[in-house]
Structure formats: C-alpha cells, structure tokens
C-alpha cells in the first residue's frame, strides 16, 4: 500500500494528465452541446442575454462592407426584378398547362442577429427570437440573398444558429442551370465546396447553386451561392466546385427563420429504409 501511494505521489502529474485526457475523450464522445438537454436552454438563454446587452456596439468595418454589398445587391435586384416579372407570367401559364402544384409559401419569422462567433472556425450566431416566437431546432434561416444556416439551440427568447461556414455543414444542393446534384461542405475560409460532382457532368464557374429537394433539413430552391472555380480532383472521378456563399456572413444583421419542419412521414420512411440499407446516408 505504501508503495502504491509513493507511486501515485511520484507520478501524480502523469496520472492526472491521463485521467483528464480520458475525461476529455469521454466528453467528446457525448458530442456537441445539443445532447445536454435542458442545460442547453439555460446556456443559450444566458449567452443570448449577454450578447443582446452589447448588440448596439457598431462594427465600422462591417457597416462599410455591408453598404457596398447592399448597393451591389440593389443593382442586381433591379435587373432581376424586371426579368422575373416576365418569367412569373410565363411560369404561371406553363404551370397551369402542366397542372403542377404552386410553390409553397413559407411562414417567415424575422429576427435580429445579436451575437456572432465567426472567429477561430467557430461559426455560430445568436438571434433574438426563440421558442415563444415559434422558432424550433432544425428550422433553417435565410436572408434576401440566400441560405444562412440552421437553428441548433433554442431558449424561450433566443436561438443559436449554425452558419453555413461550419465544419458540420452538409447541404444537399443542385446547380440551377444543369440540375447537377452534389453536397455542399465547408473546408475553411469564407467559401464552400460542392462535392460528389462527377467529372462528366456540366458545371461551370458562374453557375448558381441552390438547395435541392433531396434534403430533409432545408427547403428546396434556396440560393446557396455561385460557383467561382471548377477544377478536377487528382486521382478522383469527381470535380471540385468552389462556391462563394450568397450571404455575406461578416455583415449579417437581420435574417428570417423559415417555419418548416421535415415531413414526418418522409423521415419515417427514409429511416426505415436506412435501417435496411446501412450504407445509405442522407445529408
């Protein structure tokens, strides 16, 4: 016993290091904050309250670039508005002819971004709307420019969003022009990558990338961004398509939470199929 105590005292630093490393791995296996149940709402609420106290502090650099981005967007919208008026008339006529259902109008919840963590690769934002305003986990968020991210945590008056520029981002996407499918991921910096695009399919720089109807999490046809670079991946059958997000995350101040939840019947069916086919995965 004496020997054991001497051993522990002599190597206490290494034993402590080993114990703390094992405890850290145990916590990592638990996963993200989302698996801590009610404790999470307290954290989200507290952080949201603190961030709302200081949300009035302006960030001059962000304001300047937002002004520039808004001017560019205004110019683009003016041109697109004229085109879309014409297209809407044509679209309505064609849909009637083909007897297709009308596009779904989503209920949007307007919210202000009161806190952002876009530093050191932790890309999250806090908004001033929560459960009492109808916001729920899993709802996606958009701006006039395009897709922002998804709600991952809620409290009665606040919600935390996982922005698109996040390592956990997986969005089922398609190229608007050619309807080519792929999966949007983030690989660092301020751009996204469209993966799983075979070399034989047509994707070009300048193509608009939208959310696809395959996704359970995101409604279809929301703009994600524009392809800026298309290159061949070495030793691969796929292309690497770099996508510039449509949303400027540095200047994000207002957004809309889209009040949609996955269709439970579809989720149940796909879950049953997943159980039978374990290799299949749906982003």
């Amino acid at each position: 016993m004496r020997r054991f105590i001497d051993f522990v005292v002599r190597f206490k630093n290494y034993i402590t290091l080993g114990t703390l490393v094992v405890m850290s791995f145990a916590f990592m296996s638990v996963g993200s904050l989302s698996q801590l149940g009610g404790f999470r709402a307290v954290i989200v609420g507290s952080i949201g309250w603190m961030q709302s106290l200081f949300a009035w502090i302006p960030n001059p650099v962000a304001l300047k670039s937002e002004n520039l981005a808004l001017r560019e967007l205004n110019l683009q919208l003016a041109v697109e508005s004229a085109r879309s008026r014409q297209s809407m008339v044509e679209n309505a006529t064609l849909r009637k002819m083909l007897e297709l259902p009308a596009y779904t109008d989503y209920h949007l919840i307007a919210a202000d971004v009161i806190g952002k963590t876009t530093t050191q690769s932790r890309n999250y934002a806090t908004i001033n709307k929560g459960i009492e305003d109808g916001v729920q986990e899993g709802m996606c968020c958009i701006t006039d420019a395009g897709l922002v991210g998804i709600v991952i945590g809620t409290s009665p008056h606040f919600a935390v969003l996982q922005l698109l520029l996040n390592r956990d981002t997986r969005v089922s996407a398609k190229v608007q022009r050619t309807r080519v499918d792929g999966i949007i991921q983030w690989e660092g910096e301020t751009f996204l990558v469209l993966k799983n695009v075979p070399r034989s399919l047509d994707v070009q720089a300048g193509d608009v990338v939208l959310t696809s109807s395959y996704s359970q999490k995101y409604p279809a046809n929301i703009v994600i961004g524009r392809a800026t670079q298309v290159s061949e991946e070495a030793n691969s059958l796929f292309r690497r398509v770099v996508v510039e997000p449509a949303v400027n995350f540095a200047t994000l101040e207002q957004l809309f939470v889209v009040d949609t939840r996955p269709n439970s019947e579809r989720v149940a069916l796909e879950r049953r199929t997943d159980e039978r086919l374990p290799q299949r995965s749906t982003p």
Binding site: K12, N13, T16, L17, L20, V21, M23, S24, F25, A26, F27, M28, S29, V30, G31, S32, L33, L36, I43, I47, M50, Q51, F54, I57, N59, G115, K116, T117, T118, T119, Q120, S121, R122, Y124, I152, G153, V160, R167, D168, Q185, W186, E187, G188, E189
Partner: protein, 177 residues
C-alpha cells in the same frame, strides 16, 4: 490605502484558496469576453485565446498539476459557452497546462511571467494546444490537417503570443515598482 493594498496582495500570495477563487472569476470573465467582445479584435477571423494565456499563467505560478486541472476546467467551460464539441478545448488546454508546467520554478514565477520567457512558453503551449485542437477539429471535414493548421493554428498561436505581451508588461512594470 497603500497598506490595504499590500495586505490584500500578501493575502493573495499566501492564501491558495483566495487565489483559486480569483482564477475562477477571471476564467468566467474571459469566457464572457471571448463570446461577446472578441469579434471586435478579430483579424481575418483569427482571435487571441485569452483562456490559454490564463492557463499558462496558472501553470507557471502554481505548477504543472494545478495548470493541467485549470486548463481542463477553463477549456470545458469554454466548450459549453461557445457551443463547441464538448471536451475538445478541455483536452487541448489540459495539454497546454502540462507543457507550460515544465517552466514552473518555485519562487521565480513573476520573473518568468515578467520576461520574454513568458511569450516563449505561451507560443509553445499555444502550438501544442492548436495542434491538438485542430487535429480533432478537421476530422469530420475530409480535408488536409496540415493546410488547415497552417492557416488557422499558426495564426491563432501568433496572435495569442502577441496578446500575452500585455500581462508580461504588466508584471514587468509591477516588478520594477
């Protein structure tokens, strides 16, 4: 007034319980600063890791054992507050406390913190911290760890080392007085 200050200072030096309470309060405050204010000093989305500087400080003043435990608790608190993967910062800061603890010398803590050696310890502990943190960070992303570490890990380590100049100068000034 001066007498009062000296009394408080001596109590802080001799009373470990008081010191640990102060460390805990400082860690809480730094967490709030990290989440609420640090975006204002971000350079290309890179910010200094203030909790790492605190961990190194504690390891140099209290030793390796306390430094590791302080790093673990500070990291765990940050994981909870920043919505990061639970345990990732705890692991990295435990390792940082372990590395920084090798520079503990009884009775020479303030000399170490008030000199350029403190910056070297922060850079070394920061390098180990970011190496571990980003190794686990990039695992779900299918990208090259080396490139990601060079972009974010090295930049964060450098910025943290620059931020560590302020406590170094503060202690250096107090030493001279």
């Amino acid at each position: 007034m001066a007498l009062n200050f000296d009394l408080h200072r001596s109590q802080f030096v001799t009373n470990p319980a008081l010191r640990f309470v102060v460390y805990a309060v400082v860690a809480l405050l730094l967490n709030v600063v990290h989440v609420v204010f640090l975006r204002f000093v971000a350079v290309s989305s890179v910010t200094p890791d203030l909790l790492l500087i605190l961990t190194v400080w504690i390891a140099i003043v209290e030793g390796q054992f306390t430094g590791m435990i302080a790093g673990f608790l500070a990291g765990l608190l940050f994981d909870v507050v920043s919505a990061d993967v639970l345990g990732s910062n705890a692991l990295a800061k435990t390792a940082a406390g372990f590395v920084a603890g090798y520079f503990w010398r009884e009775g020479y803590a303030m000399q170490t913190i008030g000199s350029y050696r403190f910056l070297l310890v922060v850079a070394l502990a920061g390098g180990v911290h970011n190496l571990l943190y980003y190794f686990f960070y990039v695992r779900p992303m299918q990208i090259s760890f080396g490139m990601f570490f060079l972009k974010y890990g090295v930049a964060t380590t450098l910025y943290t080392t620059v931020a560590a100049v302020f406590p170094m100068l503060y202690v250096n000034r107090r030493k001279d007085q």
